[in-house]
Subunit: 192 residues, 2 copies
């Protein structure tokens, strides 16, 4: 046991996922925004939640269109992903600036990034006002992946996806990798 | 751009965070459960959400006590963390089985793990029934960290914390690390 120091009531919960959220504005212009306050939140129906400030361009887009995509960035797109979180779609065309491609989803009214290997198409089912952030809870309508990131069972492989995470504090992205073990097998050590 | 294959409406969103959730049952027995469908969801007030099936022991505990802790597992506790997610507190005393220490939180009615270097004390402010899972939205009342994981500014350092993530598919834990860059600096490459 180690003595602990209080850091106060802060949103310190590293590491956070890094998701690029795709949406259309009222004129149909695609926009991408990077968010870390996100997560899966139900299995049946399959749902995710994303929490956004009302001030963001994406917040207005999703309020109107009731749909978005989640685009999982691989390490080779760390700079583009950082950029998507640092500028507003109100001011710039982020797709034009990065040269990435917006593709219309099949199942929802939102664009995904053609170059990213794993994307999720989501339809909003509920909004929860929490204070500075609005939580959008959305049903997963489809997941699409490039063959290059699938294992022999057709399941996305973490090492092939090469995702990264965000850490409060340094304000930095950190890679993932290094298989620690299968959860059932790891638990056997304790059960024994 | 790569051609994509539909994987259907599944909760495939790797990687997910790995949080150990601490709670007391009606008799005051501490319990720990591992959850991955979790995330930060508001900055003011500072909030997190965790999504749990009603069938879990922790779900009943939190419904009664309206409080829980989030305990961030470092890599050296991967086996204990796996175990916490594989057995129910209804059947076994997980603290006794692992030899880890439950410490009463200062600010909420829930126990944290003395050995884990970063913990968050949370008080439930809202529950949202989504289907198979209930979402508990809770206000962060305090964050506590061991000095050993803080950097020179007193902020938790990801490499010192050595957290890991979970991936659907392999059902495995994967390490984090490898600094990819500060977000503001990475974005400069695109703005230029």
């Amino acid at each position: 046991m180690s003595k602990k120091k209080s850091l106060g009531a802060e949103t310190i919960a590293p590491p956070s996922p890094v998701w690029v959220i795709g949406s259309y504005d009222a004129a149909g212009k695609p926009n991408m925004m990077t968010a870390s306050w996100v997560g899966v939140c139900c299995s049946r129906p399959p749902c995710v939640m994303i929490a956004l400030r009302e001030a963001t361009y994406t917040h207005g887009n999703i309020m109107k269109r009731r749909a978005f995509t989640v685009n999982m960035p691989p390490g080779r797109y760390a700079a583009e992903t950082a950029y998507f979180g640092q500028v507003s779609g109100r001011d710039v065309d982020k797709l034009a600036a990065t040269g990435l491609t917006a593709v219309k989803s099949d199942s929802v009214d939102a664009p995904y990034l053609g170059e990213f290997p794993l994307i999720i198409e989501c339809a909003v089912i509920k909004t929860v006002e929490l204070g500075l952030h609005t939580m959008f809870i959305a049903e997963i309508k489809d997941v699409k992946a490039s063959e290059s990131v699938l294992d022999e069972n057709g399941t996305p492989d973490l090492e092939k996806l090469d995702p990264f995470v965000f850490s409060y504090g340094s304000g930095g992205f950190y890679g993932t990798g290094g298989f620690l073990g299968n959860v059932s097998k790891l638990a056997e050590d304790i059960k024994r």
